[in-house]
Amino acid sequence: MIEVKGLSKTFGDKQVLKDISANFEAGVTSLIIGASGSGKSTLARCLVGLIEPDQGEVLYDGRDFVHMTTKERKTVRKEIGFLFQGSALFDYFTVRENVRFPLDILTDMTSKEKEMRVDSVLERVELTDAHALYPSELSGGMKKRVGIARAISPSPRYLFCDEPNSGLDPQTSIVIDALIQEITKENEMTTLVITHDMNSVIEIGEYIMFIHYGEKWWEGTNKEIMQTDNKEILDFVNASGMMTRKRV
């Protein structure tokens, strides 16, 4: 479980995150939605310490991450998997090496165990055939899937996915969503998914947090989001074009 308390971040004179508090439960796929530029990626980066928040606390199962030393943070980071918005694959590694890298770094597996783990993860994201390719030889959607494979290969306790679906066709999107939800349940992971995709929201949104200009505007479940009267959410949902809902 990740608890966020009063998180704020300002870049220059622009406040990007305003006093955000939330609980992200283990075994639940929590979704963070919001317009482009609303601060979703910044929130995720603050949670894992890639950006230092100005204020607030982040607790990983009770462990106060913000005030840890670099060394203490490393132990928490070893339990984090992160899919970056732009995939961030290592250019000079093949797909297989990319997925294997965190195992080399984080685990004491034998070479054979690592290879087996890589094979099984690649199979789950349906990239077995692409294992010898370099990132420059992949399509955008394939890169995303390799990014997911790399994030989940060391079986993290906490998983962050920054737009796992962008650039994927609807079918692959569903497969990826299902995969994320499945492993979250299987391993009791605390999973945060940043998304624009209303399909995902409806399908896997057990907990949804809507960010509006850096503020937590709304939170609830996928059932609740269908019924809300909140204007900004309705705008967001309607703009996605997938639902033509009438207000009752």
Partner: protein, 247 residues
């Protein structure tokens, strides 16, 4: 002044982090080997081409400038050897490598920064500065003296070709000159110098790449800054080294 001190401080902090104890040696060993191969092999060709012409030109220049009956012609060989060993091979090669390797390093690391690959390393608990920068510096510091030795031989060989194919200086005079009053200290001095230069032309571009922000445009600028600054620093440091160790 303040921005200069700011960058200097930031540079030294980065170097401090890069040289802190690595967490898993096995992943570094492979990186170091890769870097040594790519630095060494990729630079060998350009080093040889430049060195042979450099030596030829030094020989011709020296001959043209000591057109006097009082100076023996073997001085041409002697001067070619001395300037090659003391300055041209270590310093000019460092400048060439600063251009070639330095820009490469800055853009490689800079691209990793703007595509979040460095963040990805950090998330995995990898000390990204050590992982990316340390192998490059160590590889260059180890390889560079060998490149300089090769450059010395090729450069003096370039002069030899002039002796062989022109009548500027006779082969026997040239051969006598290049063996005259040889001091090993000079070679040791040159190789140590080249190791220092290698540290500069890898660490300075690394710094600029590591702190690149924005997009491809910024990476290009970081690369230029890295090359220009390492070249200037190399020449300034060269002055001090010469002043301290050769006078």
């Amino acid at each position: 002044m303040a921005p200069f001190l700011f960058h200097l401080g930031k540079y030294f902090i980065l170097m401090w982090r890069a040289f802190s104890r690595p967490e898993k040696l096995s992943i570094y060993r492979r990186r170091l080997l890769d870097e040594m191969v790519s630095l060494g092999l990729d630079s060998l060709g350009i080093i040889m081409v430049i060195s042979v012409f450099m030596g030829a030109v030094i020989t011709i220049q020296t001959a043209a400038n000591i057109d006097s009956a009082f100076i023996p012609t073997y001085t041409i060989g002697f001067t070619t050897r001395q300037s090659t060993i003391l300055e041209f091979s270590p310093t000019i090669m460092a400048l060439i490598l600063a251009g070639k390797i330095g820009s490469n390093i800055a853009s490689e690391i800079g691209l990793m920064r703007v595509t979040e690959q460095i963040d990805a390393l950090e998330i995995m608990g990898v000390n990204s500065s050590a992982y990316l920068i340390l192998p490059k510096i160590v590889a260059a510091v180890l390889i560079s003296p060998f490149l300089v030795i090769i450059s010395m031989f090729v450069s003096i060989g370039g002069g030899y070709l002039i002796a062989l194919f022109t009548d500027i200086v006779s082969v026997s005079n040239y051969e006598y000159g290049i063996q005259l009053d040889f001091r090993l200290y000079h070679v040791v001095y040159a190789l140590s110098k080249s190791a220092v230069f290698a540290f500069i032309f890898t660490s300075v571009p690394s710094y600029h790449g590591y702190y690149a922000a924005g997009g491809a445009l910024e990476v290009g600028k970081a690369s230029t800054r890295g090359v220009v600054q390492s070249s200037i620093i190399i020449l300034v440091v060269n002055y001090f080294i010469t002043q301290i160790f050769l006078i």
